[in-house]
Symmetry: C2
Subunit: 448 residues, 2 copies
């Protein structure tokens, strides 16, 4: 398309309707226009089989030499991968075609032809991961990445819809935060005019304030961790959804987490089944996810690990391998609760029955995906919280506002956070979190 034709839709006026591939079944037997890109092209003598993509799906076209002008046939034959197009054709049901429909092409207009001498860099052959990551802005067009990110959208939407429906108010937590709370080693720092600010690692402390104002709240935004870990579970920038409720206990949050995850799975199964199939996800593993989820104590989890040969001792925190071992014991996500207080954060409420335990919970996904949710009940007593802050040598001044919440109408309250990328990795059954976010940020990876 030349730059002085501002209206690509212009050519279609008075002609066939422009439709999306996702909606193609509604147009059987009719002539339509698809706006998209060439995904692949196969030749078989007098027939060409281009596959088009338009961002909503893939559609195979058929260009028969005897059905189009010689110019159109030549144009189709010379199409290069990822060239942009307007394609006119009639929709035909065909059980053999992927998706069940084909397009009998009658006309073709090239918007921009990718030059054959400088072809699209990502070809159907195998590419190394660094090459693909360097071309992330293009790699997103391939079927697998497309499927993953459409599922990611569905998961994000399901999180919001579920919490909205349960009466939670979205209250965005700030990204720029003052005075580092728990050490600065894993924080990204920035100069904020005359002082230092840090990128948030969690909205929880702020959500505790807003839960006292709105009853039930959630925040949902990017969080940051400047960790020098290079594992398949770590990103430096990742999204978290964090519900928090006043007048709520650990048990309430376990119930919520269970219903929440079940709802998300059901929405993905209902709305994104073709994408799960494109990823060759074993959906039977997801279909069995229904409340109740197994609930085990930390003590019981340690017993399981010992039985499986781990050398963990009571009091130690679980590593990734431990989480995998525990998660594999169950076909559904498992809730592990009541951890040693010493390995949990200062704000965790102690168990009234055993004060060495904290009322915290982790949800471990099955199939080896490890922790996807962490949460618990927060300390609601002013003096207890103050002594915790002092014991851990945290700067009291930075926590005065947080202490205020225990001074003015304190209530038992609890919440949790779910990492979106880990949930996507599990639901899509991916090897590595780098595919779960559009533009992953990791150690040595800030581009594109």
């Amino acid at each position: 398309m030349s730059q002085d034709d501002p209206s690509p839709a212009g050519v279609t006026k008075g002609l066939a309707p422009v439709v999306t591939i996702e909606q193609i079944a509604n147009w059987e037997g009719q002539e339509v226009i698809i706006r998209g890109w060439l995904y692949n092209l196969r030749e078989a003598g007098k027939l060409l089989f281009p596959i088009f993509r338009d961002g909503t799906g893939l559609l195979q076209g058929v260009v028969a030499k005897n059905a189009v002008t010689p110019e159109i046939f030549a144009l189709a034959k010379g199409l290069t991968q990822e060239s942009s197009l307007l394609v006119t054709g009639k929709v035909r049901a065909d059980a053999r075609a992927p998706g069940g429909y084909e397009l009998d092409v009658s006309h073709l207009q090239v918007v921009q032809l990718v030059p054959a001498e400088e072809p699209y860099p990502i070809t159907p052959k195998e590419h190394g991961i660094e090459f693909l990551m360097d071309h992330r802005h293009l790699w997103l067009r391939s079927q697998r990445q497309h499927a993953i990110l459409r599922i990611r959208h569905e998961i994000s939407k399901a999180c919001r819809d579920y919490l909205d429906g349960e009466g939670y108010t979205l209250v965005d937590a700030p990204i720029l935060t003052p005075a580092a709370c728990e050490g600065t080693t894993t924080l990204f720092e920035t100069q904020y005019f005359d002082e230092k600010a840090y990128l948030t690692q969690s909205g929880q402390l702020y959500s505790e304030a807003t839960a006292a104002a709105f009853g039930k709240v959630y925040c949902f935004g990017p969080t940051f961790r400047a960790e020098k870990s290079k594992t398949r579970r770590h990103l430096t920038e990742f999204w978290m959804v964090e519900p928090e409720a006043a007048f709520a206990t650990l048990e309430d949050m376990m119930d919520l987490a269970e219903r929440f995850v079940t709802y998300i799975i059901k929405q993905v199964l209902e709305k994104r089944r073709p994408e799960l199939e494109a990823l060759e996800r074993d959906v039977s593993r997801l279909e069995q996810i229904e409340p109740p989820f197994p609930r085990i104590t930390y003590d019981e989890a340690v017993e399981i690990l010992k039985r499986k040969g781990s050398d963990i001792r009571w009091g130690g925190d679980f590593g990734g391998t431990d989480e995998t071992l525990i998660g594999e014991e169950f076909s559904k996500p498992v809730l592990v609760h009541r951890f040693p207080a010493s390995i949990k954060a200062f704000y965790m409420q102690p168990d009234p029955e055993r004060s060495e335990l904290a009322l915290g919970v982790d949800m471990l996904a099955p199939e080896g995906y490890g922790e996807i949710i962490g949460g618990g009940q927060r300390v609601s007593d002013y003096n207890l919280l103050l002594s915790r802050i002092q014991e851990q040598n945290l700067p009291r001044e930075a926590f005065e506002w947080y202490l205020d919440l225990r001074k003015y109408g304190s209530v038992p309250h609890a919440g949790f956070g779910m990492g979106i990328e880990r949930a996507v990795a599990w639901i899509c059954s991916l090897e590595h979190v780098r595919e779960t976010i559009p533009f992953p940020r990791m150690l040595y990876r800030l581009r594109p």
Copy 2:
């Protein structure tokens, strides 16, 4: 509540149901339990009129001396502002009561009593703005802030619901970005391991890449601007929703922006009318917002300004005052399009009919609220984009990935960004954006 009673809901077992104030109309004539805080207390002889809040609304209670035990009456009489409570009572319709219902209190349990000697700092009397901002974590509990942030939630939700319904895919843009594109003076910088990273100012460039993969996309996240401006329209951290579409023109985006804003207004009017009333918002101004919105060219806007006495010359950019003057001419938001290319960004497509103009659009809100949306059509031609980058002395290397989008299946495409806080300010009719976000970040304001 003492710390060894982990279940505040426990007391209600076998008793009346726990309900929210928002749902109170469904419980007329029945005994219920409200979990919340004391908002205000008025005495009239043998009657006490406590107002309770629970995060979903306010409800007036009546405690009659002859209807409760002496202990309960004394407890109610001694309640301090923001003390947390479980209140049992019968719901009674009363046309005189705010909200139409009252609660005849029969029982009361204090969860935490705010000590009279250290009372809640925000009293019904007037406070200075710096004091309120320092106590933002508590200020959020007051009726006005509560109403604003519930409307903010509705606006965020309406943005997503509208775009989801129109087939847009949410594709999150990264927050941490490499190599500053347009100068670093208004960017927040952070050390990213061995290099520098910057906090994003817009997801647009990334959304152009994802629009080529998904057809129609949006991103919705926090954006940052390290501006030393201290005006009623500036925050350093603010949220933007940015739709972007392949095969779309400036006109398509003006149509979308119009439908989008109309939908948002309708949702707020439908779902958040009590909150608009609490803010004393003149809703008749919102009710008249329907497509089509007036559309004027930059040229016409300059004529309006000159007629109104401004000394603007053709070619100059509009300041806040100019935007207010133009916006005031119309009862609906006005779309101003086709600006001088010299005052717009390098990626804007030139007008094919007058190459000195860029195919950009701003939407100015009525009632003096200025720009709420900015967008337009992007350059789709590789050579034109490259020459723009070179003319403006931008580092070509940093834009190679962005140039790739014009090399591999380029299509006409367009999009816009709406600043959530400015939309909230307009819809709520607020003086200052600092009230539009839970924890505002401004020059000299990073706390709490």
